[in-house]
Symmetry: C2
Subunit: 214 residues, 2 copies
DNA sequence: GAGTGAGTATACAGATCGGTCTACTATGGG
DNA sequence: CCCATAGTAGACCGATCTGTATACTCACTC
């Protein structure tokens, strides 16, 4: 499975924020506040640990408004993850635009992750965390989670292609491993500056993969 | 933080299964069945998603027995994680005993993880998953989670020392990143044989770190 | 000015949550 | 014989969970 999952992003262009996703809910002012509150609470405390009453209260919204907009907690979870995914891809796209050399583009992903992580609590990757809580593949949020990881793998593979055309898939997977490892080690506080460490290892990997001259 | 967290395991000897842990509950026959059922359910469905009634029913035990033995659900969670940690360390120790060359010992960790993972559902690392659900550092299970990761990092560092005495800490962290990345990629099904892929990358890393002759 | 969409306020339903309680049984050791 | 230990059976508690209902307000638009 996951051989060529979803459409591979075009590395020569800016990857578009997933527009084909399951986003359906129109973001009225109240809905936006709900999404903002849910996003913060879910990320900080976990999905199952946060109830809809708390979300509504933090959003300064009644439960009726919440259910009028989203219909169910599950849908809020979907919107939470899809929104985070969308914002992450946009953030990453802006960073990739500023990097031109193939190696720099790979390292820009690690830099983006580090900067993205530093903007919030050190709780690691929301997709990895959500995957630990949502165990049913039939859950509507499951596709969002696996979709983002598949997209990231495809991105690394595309970024690796100019550096090692024959071994792009291999190199993409290795970069993915380092990146995920960095996210987890950072999120769990295993050692300091884990994402930067992963970046260094990626750099060394690129050196030995494509030759120090490239 | 986590500069030299906990005591570093002696790499020349078999690492002992954590005996200083928070284990307190005597395992009567009923308690053992509770722990077995809770372990399976927590791992498959997540901690918050599983109630004590279900655990008791699956264990074939009344709630009174469950609470007589464990006192609280939180304590069951602690025992669940501590038990899994203990069994993993014993499993790993047996594998490390059979490997003598420094490089083989490092790779034996990855092999052990792959074999350990294949024995159950592809849900990845129970500590990573638990960390996503237990967000309060004051929770009694939190120390078990971070303790295992700190122990694994210390183990990799010790295993790296004979290969690169001056850069053992650096190499240990790199191995840790690859290992965690492999666990996550496997658990989320990002691509097939993720742990084996991580093992290959670790092998390449050891080659370039200590020279191909060692 | 009627209607519509977005919102507040609040009560409520039914289920499930973690946890406690009483009453009883079986077993095995001093 | 006695008593502690480990267990079953099952009712019960208050709190919290997701989700729904009724009644009303406000703003904007056709």
């Amino acid at each position: 499975m996951s051989e060529d999952v979803k459409q591979a992003p075009d590395a020569s262009r800016v990857p578009e924020a997933g527009g084909e996703g399951p986003r359906r809910v129109p973001l009225t002012p109240g809905a936006r506040r709900v999404l903002e509150a849910a996003g913060r609470l879910f990320y900080e405390r976990g999905i199952h640990a946060v109830g809809v009453d708390l979300i509504a209260a933090e959003a300064g919204v009644t439960k009726k408004t919440l259910y009028d907009r989203f219909g169910s907690k599950d849908q809020i979870v979907v919107e939470y993850l899809a929104d985070r995914d969308e914002r992450w891809r946009a953030f990453l796209a802006a960073r990739l635009e500023r990097a031109r050399a193939p190696k720099s583009r790979v390292l820009a992903v690690f830099d983006a992750s580090r900067d993205w992580a530093e903007r919030s609590l050190p709780r690691g990757c929301s997709m990895i965390n959500a995957h630990a809580e949502i165990t049913d593949p039939a859950h509507p949020a499951y596709a969002v989670i696996t979709g983002q990881k598949a997209w990231m793998l495809a991105l690394f593979t595309d970024l690796a292609r100019p550096l090692a055309p024959r071994r792009a898939k291999q190199l993409g997977r290795s970069l993915m491993l380092l990146h995920e490892g960095g996210l987890v080690a950072y999120g769990m506080g295993i050692f300091p500056d884990a994402i930067d460490h992963a970046r260094q290892d990626a750099q060394a990997l690129l050196k030995s993969a494509a030759g120090p001259s490239a």
